[in-house]
């Protein structure tokens, strides 16, 4: 391609062609995060449930400490991906910012756990569902949309259950909402 002048028709063809080129390069939405957080949060929910239900530990919430290394792994992976991306779409940017906003909201909730009382997990499931549903809508990927809805159903169930059982429902919700769509997304990304 040179810096030659164009006819009007050539201009239009060129614009259409280039916009199409950029579209085809929109990055896929990171099945890595759904799988990482799916395993970590499902394990933490199950761990909390078992420790609490069978009275194995005074502080069953200790299992949630595994989310810290997961956060570090996510940040490192995100920084590396950012470096390797040669083009970033508007949607990529929105997608990332939405999850950061949800993470901030969830951390605020955890900070004020005392005020939330026994429904912390149910509210977090609601936020996780919101993010997953929106991710599915942005990527036009149905399994994530269904995953988001599954997380909302598990949130509704959790609100109506005693606190210990909420963690079992949480584990099942995360399996249906993060892990299954995460695996399906990975399959599409590798196709």
């Amino acid at each position: 391609m040179s810096d030659k002048e164009l006819t009007k028709e050539e201009s239009l063809d060129l614009i259409t062609n280039m916009i199409g080129q950029a579209k085809r390069n929109i990055a896929k939405g990171g099945s890595f995060y759904f799988l990482l957080w799916g395993w970590v949060v499902m394990f933490a929910n199950l761990g909390h449930y078992i420790l609490d239900k069978y009275d194995l530990h005074d502080q069953p919430y200790i299992v949630w400490l595994i989310t810290f290394p997961a956060g570090i792994v996510s940040a490192i992976y995100g920084a590396r991906q950012g470096k390797n991306t040669v083009v970033r779409s508007h949607l990529d940017r929105l997608y990332g910012l939405m999850w950061i906003a949800i993470a901030v909201a969830v951390m605020t909730l955890i900070f004020f756990t005392g005020n939330v009382e026994t429904n912390l997990n149910a509210i977090i499931l609601l936020f996780a569902g919101l993010g997953t549903l929106n991710s599915g809508l942005m990527l036009r990927f149905k399994p994530l949309i269904l995953g988001g809805l599954a997380l909302w159903v598990s949130s509704i169930l959790a609100f109506s259950l005693p606190v210990t059982e909420q963690y079992l429902v949480g584990a099942i919700g995360i399996f249906a909402g993060y892990l299954i769509p995460g695996f399906l997304l990975k399959k599409v990304e590798n196709a």
Binding site: K8, I19, V87
Partner: protein, 95 residues
């Protein structure tokens, strides 16, 4: 009688229009991506990016990826306006 608007000479050139059409659809793109998509030479692309940047149509940021220099471009508000005006003017000619 249709009102023919003057086509922006800065955009009415093959490579510069290609760059603007690529950047209008994305948040940012690296030099290598633009070069690959426009099938241009590095030298010519640099010159045209400079012209667009001087006009304020795009912003160019330079950094490093490891030891290699990294040039990232994105379209500015002025660039979006110029691009829209160009497309509207083009429509006037074609309709």
């Amino acid at each position: 009688m249709p009102n023919f608007q003057q086509l922006d000479p800065l955009l009415h050139s093959q490579l510069r229009l290609a760059v603007m059409s690529l950047l209008i659809g994305v948040d940012s793109a690296e030099f290598v991506f633009i070069r690959e998509k426009t099938k241009s030479t590095a030298g010519n692309l640099s010159v045209q990016l400079d012209k667009l940047s001087t006009a304020g149509y795009i912003s160019v940021s330079k950094s490093f990826k490891g030891k290699r220099p990294l040039t990232t471009c994105s379209i500015t508000k002025l660039g979006i306006k110029a691009f829209e005006d160009y497309v509207n003017a083009l429509k006037g000619y074609i309709e």
